[in-house]
């Protein structure tokens, strides 16, 4: 086998290890010098090594979301400063509209690496800083309608000029951010990490020579690209579509994605996305690409080095002026959160459908519901801290949504992600949180309830409550997502839990707090509670192993009643399954579903069905097969649709409508196997919206008549 490379395969592998070692050194330096718990406890930081033009070579640290954003930052710095960039320069940027990272708090500290007067690489260190100024502590201001209100915005500027610290910039920084002593310490940790990595990269390049280094890293990226293309090529060509909505109170902002798989290329089209809004969730294409391509590689290429080669077989269309490609003055403090996570999720749901439609795909072992990124329940507090001085923090435990189930396993609790090589955010010890912040935690647990039910169920999100302890009041800003529309499951699994913020008041009882409320005051005697959302289940809950249901009952996750109603499982007081009652219950539930369901959209022509006889069976969706031009239930053999119609067109549909006091409503539609009443697929949409997923491999749409 010839690889057509300029660098021999041994040198390439050795070089990769050396670059990874340097990235790790940079990342270690950040963690050991930073102060903010977001960095040290939640590990929200990264060290990225890039080529001389800003192309991603190696990323280190737990947040791979940063890596491509780092690339984008360097591109902007080069465009801004061009020839004036020299050895010893350090750049800072934080404005997503102009050279920055994922949002204003994720500052990008960038240092070019020079060897013999030639620029050979870049180091970019990024971390979530506790505050970058603006209307509210933490710089997440739901009330902001323009980016000018949100935070101090740095275009690419110098923090050091040829090795001399730009004290003016530090002074502007200090003057504009809250808790500046702490935040500056974190910023300096990033600078320190840059210096450490710079020295090592320079020594490495000097050893092997500038030209050979440049060639070798190109080869390294080419190999990732080539192998990823090969894997994409194995996927079934066609069009796969998923739609989601980002919420703001009762408003729904559509995030649609149409994936076209064509040969060795993936095209994600976000045409139809809602126009940019006066809410902080407006995003940018590089941010969406950063999240989406990272996710693609977790599914298709965990074993490949993640570098700029991974981005080449993928392109995105994000129409200008929409929430996926906003322009100033759109607020962007959560540019990587609500909309961006939704965009990555719909992209991945579409890709999962392509995998499910591909015969013998190696990625099929990872089929699972959507990741939990768009279901965060973060919130920030400010007030007088334990030292008597003003203090504030983001409650990162609100990021711990439950994971969607996989095709052969339950979702993990407080997990969000299921398929990945590295864990992500970690939770903060209760004692550490209480020692830093003026609160007393009442409980912290995996949220109980039969959410995300399925043959395999979703994991639980974090459920935590706390009251004041050591201060007289705290002011809160909620950054909740998915209060109304839960994450869906896959293959007939039920949707997950939605995010809930609750204030328990001794006088007024429990009251819900809106997901984007920015005027929350926590008073003595009150208890603040948040319940994180979760992903969806996988497969019909009535197929779940009754012993697993009984175990969930014993652990207090599911009640006896839910075990019967949701899973059709009878569990007795000693937590043993009553087999015969369970069989009866399940049969009853199935027949009730078919009785309650609306009839299918269209009847099937019998001659078309007959044409499928003797045709080979190919996968179309989990539980659904294609024979000739007809889709059938794999379980019962019941015909579902004739090409090119949507396979659910022949399914009886169960509709459940949930209205909210504030006016909006969402509809859950379960598409049933007409032969048995089992659920084949579940969809959740705002009231009045059509079906939000389509799987249309070309093999199906172009099936010969």
């Amino acid at each position: 086998m010839t690889l057509g490379l300029r660098t021999d395969p041994i040198t390439l592998e050795v070089l990769r290890h050396r670059l990874e070692a340097i990235g790790e050194e940079g990342a270690n330096t950040i963690e050991r010098t930073a102060i903010s718990p977001v960095v040290t406890e939640s590990k929200d930081y990264s060290c990225t090594i890039l080529d001389r033009d800003g192309g991603l070579l190696v990323g280190a640290g737990k947040i791979d979301y940063h890596f491509y954003a780092a690339s984008s930052a360097v591109h902007a710095t080069i465009a801004t400063h061009g020839e004036s960039i020299g050895p010893g320069d350090v750049f800072l940027a934080n404005d997503p509209h102009n050279g920055g990272g994922l949002h204003a708090q994720d500052v990008m500290v960038q240092r070019p690496v020079f060897v013999d007067g030639e620029r050979v690489a870049w180091i970019v260190n990024s971390a979530h800083l506790m505050d970058m100024g603006g209307m509210v502590l933490g710089s997440w201001a739901p009330a902001a309608t323009e980016c000018f209100q949100e935070a101090l915005r740095f275009p690419p500027v110098r923090l050091a000029n040829r090795g001399v610290e730009a004290s003016d910039v530090y002074a502007i920084f200090r003057n504009n951010v809250r808790l500046s002593a702490l935040v500056e310490m974190d910023l300096r940790g990033l600078v320190a990490g840059c210096h450490v990595a710079n020295e090592k990269i320079a020594a490495l390049v000097a050893e092997i020579g500038n030209e050979r280094f440049v060639e070798a890293v190109e080869d390294m990226c080419d190999l990732t690209e080539r192998e990823l293309r090969r894997r994409i090529e194995a996927l079934e060509d066609g069009v796969y579509r998923a739609v989601s909505w980002t919420e703001w109170d009762d408003e729904f902002f559509v995030v649609p994605c149409t994936l076209t798989v064509e040969g060795d290329h993936l095209h994600f089209d976000y045409e139809g996305a809602a126009p940019q809004a006066q809410h902080f969730f407006n995003s940018k294409p590089y941010i969406i690409a950063s999240g989406l391509v990272g996710e693609i590689c977790k599914l298709l290429a965990q074993d490949l080095p993640f570098n700029r080669g991974a981005f080449r077989p993928v392109d995105l269309h994000c129409p200008r002026g929409t929430i996926v490609n906003s322009e100033p003055p759109a607020p962007v403090a959560a540019a990587h959160m609500d909309v961006a996570f939704n965009a990555a999720e719909v992209g991945m749901r579409a890709l999962m459908m392509a995998v499910a439609a591909t015969e013998g795909s190696p990625a099929a072992q990872y089929l699972s519901g959507p990741t939990g990124g768009s279901a965060l329940a973060t919130h920030t507090w400010s007030g007088q801290g334990l030292s008597g001085m003003p203090d504030g923090w983001a409650m990162m435990d609100g990021c711990l949504a439950g994971a969607s189930a996989g095709n052969d396993r339950d979702g993990t609790d407080l997990g969000s992600w299921m398929v990945a090589a590295n864990g992500s955010l970690e939770m903060i010890d209760v004692e550490v949180a209480e020692s830093w912040y003026p609160i007393l935690v009442e409980f912290k647990r995996a949220r109980p309830g039969a959410f995300g039910a399925g043959t395999f169920r979703a994991g639980a999100g974090c459920n935590m409550a706390y009251s004041l302890h050591g201060t007289s009041q705290l002011f809160g800003v909620m950054l909740g997502m998915r209060e109304r529309l839960p994450l869906v499951g896959m293959a007939g699994g039920a949707p997950g839990a939605v995010t809930e913020f609750v204030m328990h008041d001794p006088a007024n009882g429990a009251g819900r707090i809106g997901g984007h409320a920015s005027d929350v005051v926590l008073q003595p005697g009150q208890l603040f509670e948040f319940r994180c959302a979760s992903g969806g289940g996988y497969g019909d809950p009535l197929d779940r192993d009754p012993a697993r249901v009984a175990a969930d009952v014993k652990r207090g996750r599911v009640t006896f009643d839910d075990a019967r109603a949701v899973y059709g499982v009878a569990v007795d007081a000693s937590f043993t399954v009553d087999r015969s009652t369970t069989d009866t219950l399940r049969a009853e539930l199935l027949s009730q579903r078919l009785q309650r369901a609306e009839p299918p959209v269209s009847a099937l022509a019998s001659d078309a069905i007959a044409s499928a006889d003797g045709q080979p069976s190919q996968p179309l969706y989990p539980g659904v097969v294609q024979r000739g031009r007809v889709a059938f239930s794999a379980r019962t053999g019941a015909p579902l649709a004739v090409s090119p119609a949507h396979f659910t067109d022949g399914c009886p549909v169960l509709e459940d409508r949930r209205s909210f006091d504030s006016g909006s409503a969402v509809v859950t539609r379960s598409y049933l196997d007409p032969g048995s009443g089992h659920v084949l697929a579940v969809d959740v949409v705002p009231d009045g919206e059509p079906r939000a997923f389509t799987t249309a491999p070309r093999r199906w749409t172009d099936a010969p008549r």
């Binding site: 050396r18 210096h195 090969r230 864990g423 004692e431 007393l440 647990r445």
Partner: protein
Amino acid sequence: MGGATCIGVDIGGTFTDVVLSDGSRTWRAKSPSTPHDVSEGVLAACRLVAEAHGTTLEGLLPTVDRFGLGTTAVTNTLASWTGQRLGLVTTAGFEDIVPLARGTRVSVDGWLVMPPSLVERERIVGLDERIDRDGAIVRPLATGAARQAAEHLVENESVDAITVSFLWSFKNPDHEHRAVHEIRTRYPDLLVTSGVELQPAIREYERATFALLNAYVGRSLNGVDALTGQLARLGLRVPLLLVHSGGGSMTTDEARRVPIRLAASGPAAGVTASSIVARTSGVTRAITCDVGGTSYDVALVLDATPERRTRGDVMGIWTSVPTVDVKSLGAGGGSLAWIDSRGLMRVGPRSAGALPGPVCYGRGGTEPTVTDALLVLGYLDPEHFLGGRMALDLDGAHRACARLGEAIGMTGPECAWGIREIALAEMVKATRSMLSTRGLDARDFTLITYGGCGPLFTTGVARAIGAPRLLVPALASVLSAFGAAASDIRRERSLPLSVMLPCDPLILDDAITTLEAELTKELDGDAVAPINRSIHYEVDVRFARQRWELTIPLESPVSAATIERLAHDFRAEYARRYGEGAVMAGAAVEVVALRGLGIGRTVQAAFERTALVDPRSTPAASGAREVLLERTQPPRPVASYRMADLLPGHRIDGPALLDDVDTTIWVPPSSTAHIDAFNSTVVELTV
């Protein structure tokens, strides 16, 4: 302590090693380990070493002044998940904290999964009680609640042991002590562990897992108890000393109290022995590298003391056990080479293990390993492997490398060269990471290396990271056993402080008084004579709210000047590691904890010093092997020497290969090796 007779035993997975020292000479022996009954293997090895010494086991044991043991008993319980069935009693509302494992997720086959939980959720009972950050009681614990919880766990859930761990119990242990007392009174024979008794420090998850781990492995020492009995019957008159994970020795009584401290006994013994090597040879900063069949273990020795960490994971469970900080990588002699989907060569983490082992062992292996590559390249001598006891199949190794190389357009030797380079790159990466997490500079370090194929790689590691020197101890192949024969009793106690500098010196002085009393009592219990004791103090310091601390020695008594110096020393060390730019003027400096280290100097084995001979008497090479040093050049002849022929003082210029019975040392071009007064081989690298 010259003249004392010391035995050190290291029970490994495959072999039990033993070292015997009479103060002027050492003997060593190896015997297969016997996992079903550790005594059998230990006694067999001891018999062999007694014979080598010219006596019998029964004759030897009564004369032994010290018997040290490194044991995998606890490690095995964890590795096979065969510990006690546990119940946990904790604060109501926080029952999920242990199963949730701080949100840590590990990747297995591409999926993120939860780390193993030592206790099932249904065997965790929450009690209504609460203590706050200042130790004040927010909600009192009702009398009888803990007893009822224990009755439920024992009667309905059939637990073998119960752990109690409440929030903030280290600030106010009243509730936890009462709960433990109630349970112990109700079930006097039940094993009950307590977070605050074992680990009185902040972070509820680590404190609980530490207590749970101790309960989980609570019956693992039965085999050691049986061995103690047998040795006593055979005439041993001194108590057994066990090597603990913190790099010192402990009595069996202490081991029974905190058995989890034996979890990393084996690796700790090796690093401890290295620290003795370092002290003996005057090395202040060392990186220790143990290259075995399946792993590369790297650790640090600073000021002749192994670097420890106060928290980390034990078999995937994050906890706060003081442990010699060993980083382990799946790359060793048995690691397999393979071609990945990009067409690039990779090495490990899959290993050929003991069976089939490398292709050249001729036991059915077909895929090339690191050892096969070393043979093909000429580093290993096919005729004299293991002192000639095992013939190596050179042709087989050649064929395997050629087969693999074909897939990527390389010849067999080129492929072998690549395997060594890639394994080396991974080892370098792990070593660098070890230094960088501490902000240390490799140029100040000597590599101390042991384990079968260590010295063939570590000269390369040293060169790559910029360390100027490599040292291979005389007892490299049985170094862990030597560590068991030679480590001091080491007791460690800490107090959480959380005070900002500058502080009242009395705060630290009072804490020192408390620790001194505790350590003195413990060393009394270990029967260490006052003259052999020393107690040192150190503080963990950081900028307020950082997660990681720097450890700074503290002199006692503490004065205002000491406090000033402490803040200064911290800032200076911080700037040295992370750069001046990382230090911010005015940032608050916090003393997080005070730690007391009680050292009980024991009768112990030592390296013997030998007079140096004239370097000019260095013997001629015993042979030469063709070694492929550069991929693009033909193999060149390299002189080989028999270690047995080399005496302290002898000096050899690289390139050269020094063949010992169970290892070979690679002396690269433009470097020089010499044998020092303690029979260690020192390779000086010119940068």
